[in-house]
């Protein structure tokens, strides 16, 4: 394998050409339709409207943070030097790359509205799946944000610290497993055609 990730990302930088509707979205949409129907049959139209108003309210609250997350991701993608990122977090970065990903995920401020745009930006500038998996898993398991805001108050300090201690090796292991599987499933860089 010779540098799968940077190969398609070098000169042109194909932005993340997202299909507006992918299979995941169609699947979720279908699931939602089924659930709306079930709620309607159980609770009537009032039940449906109750959830709708609550969720629209939540949507309005989330929206500014989503904007902030998107801007953060775009700025980070722009200011990070691509060669350095693919050296530090690329497919050949080894254990060090997984550790950097883990550390980055652990210190990243904010919630999912920052973690995922930033992870997506890292992928776009040359990080491989392994390092990005380490980052996402680290954010979700040992990131301080959710632990401080929710887990400690609800589950107690002892349990939380102990649970985080147990989780410490997991991001690196998940990233390593990700790399191990990735080079076996997608041996050729050409595997990316289906996305563009």
């Amino acid at each position: 394998m010779k540098d799968p990730a940077p190969a398609d990302d070098g000169e042109t930088r194909p932005k993340h050409a997202r299909k507006p509707v992918g299979w995941s979205m169609i699947f979720i949409g279908a699931l939602v339709v089924v659930c709306v129907t079930l709620v309607w049959r159980r609770d009537g139209i009032d039940g449906v409207l109750n959830i709708l108003t609550h969720d629209l309210w939540l949507f309005g609250e989330i929206l500014p943070r989503v904007l902030a997350g998107c801007l953060l991701g775009a700025f980070i993608a722009e200011i990070l030097p691509h060669e350095k990122v693919s050296r530090a977090l690329g497919p050949k970065s080894g254990l060090k790359g997984l550790l950097i990903g883990t550390a980055f995920g652990a210190i990243l401020p904010g919630g999912p509205f920052t973690a995922y745009p930033v992870a997506s930006a890292l992928l776009a500038v040359g990080a491989d799946f392994g390092a990005t998996i380490a980052m996402v898993v680290s954010w979700t398991l040992i990131g301080y944000g959710r632990a401080v805001a929710w887990e400690i108050p609800i589950m107690g300090t002892d349990f939380t610290l102990w649970r985080i201690l147990i989780s410490l090796p997991l991001p690196v292991l998940a990233g390593a497993l990700g790399r191990f599987v990735y080079v076996r499933i997608y041996p050729q860089p050409a595997a990316k055609d289906d996305e563009t």
């Binding site: 507006p20 449906v48 959830i51 722009e78 002892d158």
Partner: protein, 166 residues
């Protein structure tokens, strides 16, 4: 809600910080990334809308009691496996996930099972995936990430069994 305010301050502070760095690289760089970020935002809003509104309905179909029932005090690896499924299926945000964990601990659930539950919730909670991960990340990455994460709630439970209670 001072925690939410703090998060917002940190978040916009970070945006401002990296924006400033981009601006010092020159206004064209700054403008390009500003446009890129705004386009991402516009593309993602419909997905987030579907995620927020949709997951509310999915959560209404999977009531919390179902999840709590799955986290009964039956111990051993079967209990761990059930806890993993329960973690992935838990509707709602962190308050609900951690509260269910606490209830399970207090009502006699085994510690390794509760650890498996919390870790599985952190890794796979369907609501976070639908709402955030799938809209923002390439679909291939999300499925791949989930597939390779499957062993880790079990690993966490195993470590918990070895090193004992907190």
């Amino acid at each position: 809600m001072s925690a939410a305010l703090l998060i917002d301050i940190l978040l916009w502070g970070s945006v401002f910080g990296v924006g400033l760095i981009a601006f010092r690289r020159g206004p064209p760089v700054f403008k390009a990334s500003l446009r890129e970020g705004s386009m991402d935002f516009i593309n993602i809003v419909p997905r987030i809308a579907l995620g927020v509104i949709g997951s509310g309905y999915i959560a209404a179909i999977i009531p919390q009691e179902v999840i709590t029932g799955w986290l009964g005090p039956d111990s051993g690896w079967l209990g761990v496996a059930t806890a993993v499924v329960a973690g992935a299926a838990t509707p709602g945000g962190p308050v609900i996930g951690f509260s269910i964990g606490t209830v399970a601990l207090k009502s006699g659930g085994g510690v390794p099972q509760v650890v498996a539950y919390v870790v599985a919730w952190a890794l796979f909670a369907f609501q976070r995936m639908i709402l955030w991960e799938i809209p923002f990340m390439p679909a291939r990455f999300v499925w791949f990430r989930c597939a390779v994460s499957v062993p880790f709630p079990f690993v966490a439970a195993a470590i918990a069994m070895v090193i004992g209670k907190p």
